[in-house]
């Protein structure tokens, strides 16, 4: 702390990097292999769920140990890539255990070249936050939330590619 100016410069630099990386993700240009994984509790996830703008958000709840989740993941990846320029964005909220992020989750992301951002939701108080995501959710995964500024749809089920696309069309009739 001998040199406050230097401290401010470093801080500014770090903040700058943070914003730049966020932008890079927005542009869907970020390399999968360098993805840093955000670990959040429900309060940390909430801002994403409350986004209401011109983008359609797809938030998929999954885990590497969940077989039906892994089966549908490639479809969410395809959708994220295909609709990147059409204001449709996929987020993959992982319910993997925190201690397995390095050993299991990161290798899985790299192996499967997952392009949507992966966020780990690490919050044991699921009895409280499951209902806040959707009251119809029993807690089983996979589960997926679709929303834009007009509509919000929640499903506790495994999707096919066509079903995901149908919901995007339903939320965005202009794409037909």
């Amino acid at each position: 702390m001998e040199n406050p100016i230097r401290y401010i410069l470093i801080t500014t630099f770090i903040i700058g990097i943070l914003f730049t990386s966020a932008d890079a993700q927005d542009n869907n240009q970020k390399k999968v292999t360098t993805q840093e994984i955000r670990v959040v509790d429900f309060a940390g996830l909430q801002p994403l769920l409350e986004k209401r703008n011109d983008t359609t958000y797809i938030v998929n709840f999954w885990a590497t140990w969940c077989a039906p989740c892994i089966k549908e993941l490639p479809y969410f990846k395809q959708i994220h890539e295909k609709y990147a320029d059409k204001k449709v964005k996929v987020f993959l909220v992982s319910l993997d255990f925190e201690r397995q992020i390095e050993t299991r989750l990161k290798p899985f992301i790299e192996k499967n070249k997952l392009t949507p951002e992966v966020i780990v939701l690490n919050d044991p108080k699921s009895n409280i936050w499951i209902d806040k995501i959707d009251p119809s959710w029993s807690g089983a995964i996979p589960a997926t939330l679709f929303f834009n500024s007009n509509n919000r749809l929640f499903f506790e089920k495994e999707f096919t590619y066509n079903e995901i696309e149908a919901i995007i069309m339903q939320l965005n009739p202009q794409y037909n």
């Binding site: 044991p124 699921s126 499951i130 119809s136 807690g139 506790e156 149908a166 069309m169 339903q170």
Partner: protein, 204 residues
């Protein structure tokens, strides 16, 4: 336009499917039906076998699901504590081993031995019991209160509020519910939720 029509139909189909799934099963206050399922020791087990029971702790769980595994020791401890008090645990594996190979009957036998399960670990081999109860995930608990009118569902949900760390769980939903029944009170809460693995059913 045709595409639009297809999309609408598909969306309706997805909704209809979601509703049929969630509309089934028991709510708190319903009377639960008995079952006759094969235990890991090869014998058939029913609720009615327990003549002196005051109630039953029916837990849908399985071998493969990490959330179920995280609760194995706790389920064992709960049975050790509450079976002598009249509330035995009956664990039921609802998964189809064709979809979830780690959940075969043979694998159940191995796991029960490894973990010294003190409770019956039953196989819902026809997948007929879990839909009646309305279980959607593992683990999924149904606490039944034995009354003159039948086995009344008193609590549905999670074991406690921390799957990762038993010591950090500061709300023991299931144990609190059993204690409520033992004191002739209604459990509060009587319904909780938790993350779990879907019950694995072969696609038709």
């Amino acid at each position: 336009m045709k595409q639009m029509k297809n999309i609408v139909i598909l969306t309706i189909a997805i909704f209809a499917f979601s509703f049929t799934v969630s509309a089934q099963g028991y709510a708190v206050g319903d009377m639960a039906s008995d079952f006759k399922l094969k235990n890991v020791d090869g014998k058939m087990v029913s609720l009615s076998d327990y003549k002196d029971a005051k109630g039953y702790i029916v837990i849908f769980t399985c071998n493969h699901c990490p959330y179920s595994v995280a609760y194995e020791d706790r389920i064992n401890d709960i049975n050790k504590k509450y079976a002598p008090l009249g509330y035995p645990v009956l664990a039921i594996n609802p998964n189809d081993p064709a979809v979830s190979p780690g959940d075969s009957f043979d694998a159940m036998v191995v796991r029960a031995k490894e973990k010294d399960f003190t409770f019956p670990y039953l196989f819902d081999d026809k997948q007929s019991v879990f839909p009646k109860y309305g279980a959607t995930r593992t683990p999924h608990v149904y606490l039944l209160d034995k009354t003159d009118a039948g086995n009344k569902v008193a609590y549905i949900g999670a074991i406690d509020n921390n799957h990762q760390d038993a010591a950090a769980a500061d709300q023991k939903f299931l144990e609190d519910a059993i204690e409520a029944l033992r004191n002739n009170k209604q459990p509060e809460p009587n319904f909780t939720k938790a993350i779990g693995c879907t019950i694995k059913v072969a696609k038709k």
